[in-house]
């Protein structure tokens, strides 16, 4: 098992380096001089040249990349061209909001996906099976931002039940140092803040959960149907075991291994893919930071965000692979 983990780690490292190189080249070859961006278009050429020198932008690209890499390995992703604050600080300030949203979305997706997929597999060819298949197909066809808008229209505008933007009501005077708002309010027993934060979380979390819920439902159904066809399930039935025991006690163990992989991979995608949902609900996470950074042509910040999210995505994939190998010995001995 250790050898397997070591092998997977060895593969992950060059991938991270590769991503850093691709992102660096892609964004550094984009138009727009950061020095002009920071000083304004009316700045005199001497000041621009001076700033370019200070930022190290007058050096050859390979030197700039190695410098960037050296600093990145020490956790320094440079400074934002716009705010001049460290990129790492800006990203880490916003990251908890994205994590909180992604975790809430994943919980919803897993509950809906597993229930729908399991019921559809157990009651194969029933009306529920066909309906859930259709719902799952709609889940992967509906654009996330449209689902968000519809939820806003129905639950925010027409019914007025839930807030449509932000993370918490500003009138509650939440401290900016609190990163995980829902968790913090729960731990400290601050119920007004907890309920308010939870209300703010519901619509974006459901929006973000739409796609992974559909994928998990489809995967659970397919995997469970395949497992229920195996000989050992037939043996269990022949022994007179109840359906519930067969499904949850016997079939689930094998059927859920590939589904867990999908759950892990989808969680990684949720962290990186929350951009759209965060934009719809003005959620102050990394996604909305990315969009504003692109709008400002703050490529230093964009580069840092993509690299950090890429690293998180790869790490999660690595964890999924290891968990998969732990659950299924055929993988690590394969």
């Amino acid at each position: 098992m250790l050898a397997y983990v070591a092998r997977r780690l060895l593969i992950a490292i060059p991938i991270l380096f590769g991503i850093s190189l691709i992102v660096f080249l892609m964004l550094h070859s984009a138009g727009g001089d950061p020095a002009v961006l920071m000083l304004g278009i009316h700045a005199d050429p001497a000041s621009v040249a001076n700033l370019r020198h200070q930022l190290g932008l007058d050096r050859p690209l390979p030197v700039q990349y190695l410098d960037f890499l050296g600093h990145a390995l020490q956790g320094d992703l440079g400074r934002s061209y716009r705010s001049n604050t460290p990129v790492t600080h800006e990203v880490l300030q916003r990251f908890p909001a994205t994590v909180e949203l992604a975790i809430a979305a994943m919980i919803i997706a897993v509950v809906i996906g597993f229930s729908m997929g399991t019921l559809a597999a157990v009651r194969r060819h029933s009306l529920f099976d066909y309906s859930s298949t259709l719902v799952a197909l709609a889940g992967v066809s509906i654009p996330t931002f449209w689902l968000g808008l519809i939820l806003i229209i129905v639950f925010g505008v027409w019914l007025g039940w839930l807030p449509i933007s932000g993370r918490v009501d500003p009138r509650l005077g939440l401290s900016p140092n609190i990163h995980f708002v829902v968790l913090d309010a729960l731990v400290h027993g601050n119920w007004p803040e907890f309920t308010d934060a939870l209300k703010h979380l519901i619509l974006p979390a459901i929006t973000l959960a739409g796609w992974p819920a559909a994928i998990i439902a489809r995967m659970t159904r397919a995997s469970l149907i395949e497992t229920l066809g195996h000989d050992y399930i037939r043996t269990a039935r022949a022994k007179g075991l109840r359906d519930r025991t067969i499904v949850f006690g016997h079939a689930y163990r094998n059927a859920l291994i590939p589904v867990l992989t999908v759950v892990g991979l989808e969680f990684g995608s949720l962290l990186g893919g929350a951009v759209v949902t965060e934009t719809v609900f003005a959620w102050p996470g990394v996604g909305s930071l990315t969009i504003s950074a692109i709008g400002d042509r703050d490529y230093q910040l964009v580069q840092g965000i993509v690299l950090l999210l890429g690293a998180v995505f790869i790490t999660l994939n690595l964890i999924v692979d290891i968990v998969y190998a732990l659950l299924d010995p055929r993988i690590r001995y394969g």
């Binding site: 197909l137 931002f145 505008v157 990186g272 934009t279 964009v302």
Partner: protein
């Protein structure tokens, strides 16, 4: 008269007539596809959307014509889907947006399909370090979430519909490259490739004339599903302000604009999204049907 013992064994009719065999296979494929109700519904929706996008624009008003006197008008007999903040007919914009979304989906897939197939076939056929390095780069693109990669590429290429289409194409490219490579690795060990090589065919000719036609089927199925995803991605980039710019009646951009008027005119946020969902659903249904029929 009994056949001579030295005569070759009688061939089944399908083996004697490869054309019939191919037609027979096509018939089986068609029968399986038609038996899949979802796939048929998907094909009907898609044809309706194509017809709507091709003919519709001739029967609706100018999608960019502003009519300030009728701004934010609710859906009515005069304006079926209402009007937007500049008094533009939303129905006319949704109808015209069909052309843009269908075209953007197709162009994106074409970019990914052509680029990915070339890379996949070359790396699969050559199998030397150049191919391995190229595939490692392709795998790197898969290591990032799709929307994040699309945003990065769109940021590099500049804001606009063309950039968004190319970005969606780049996001799809690795999947085609991997599929093409896997199919090429299997195809290059077939006897017909050895035969072509024995006849003196060049590597390029073998790749283009012999391998490519034999690996196209899975790529076409993959690209059908890919069109739906590409349309979603281009619309998402439009929604984020990185794709089509005003006054282009692109569905994602229309939803982005509708967001500012969500309380005053919620209907603005319904119809363009419904159009995207229907289009993507049709491609997904067709893609699922094609895959099931070919399995």
């Amino acid at each position: 008269m009994s056949p001579s013992p030295l005569a070759p064994p009688a061939l089944a009719s399908a083996e004697r007539f490869p054309l019939q065999r191919r037609q027979g296979r096509r018939f089986v494929f068609l029968r399986r596809y038609v038996a899949n109700r979802g796939a048929v519904v998907g094909a009907i929706i898609l044809w309706a959307l194509i017809a709507w996008s091709a003919i519709g624009p001739f029967f609706v008003s100018d999608p960019v014509k502003q009519d300030i006197l009728h701004r934010l008008a609710r859906p009515s007999a005069a304006f079926w889907f209402g009007t937007d903040e500049l008094g533009r007919d939303v129905f006319a914009r949704v109808v015209n947006g069909g052309r843009i979304s269908l075209a953007s989906g197709l162009v994106s897939v074409l970019v990914g399909l052509v680029g990915g197939t070339i890379i996949g076939v070359v790396t699969g056929y050559i199998e030397r370090w150049v191919g391995l390095v190229l595939m490692a780069v392709i795998d790197l693109l898969l290591a990032l979430p799709a929307i994040l990669l699309a945003i990065t590429v769109a940021a590099r290429l500049g804001i606009g519909l063309t950039s968004a289409m190319l970005a969606a194409g780049v996001v799809g490219l690795p999947a085609y490259a991997r599929l093409a490579r896997a199919s090429t690795l299997a195809a290059k060990r077939q006897e017909y490739v050895d035969a072509a090589r024995a006849l003196g065919a060049s590597d390029l000719r073998i790749m283009v004339r012999h391998i490519l036609p034999n690996i196209l089927t899975p790529l076409i199925v993959q690209s059908t599903i890919g069109v739906g995803n590409a349309i979603l991605l281009v619309a998402a980039l439009g929604f984020l302000g990185l794709g089509a710019q005003p006054p282009t009646p692109e569905w994602g951009r229309m939803l982005s604009d509708a967001q500012s008027y969500i309380t005053a005119a919620p209907y603005l946020g319904i119809f363009p999204g419904l159009a995207i969902a229907l289009t993507v659903l049709s491609f997904n249904l067709i893609g699922d049907g094609l895959r099931d029929a070919l399995d």
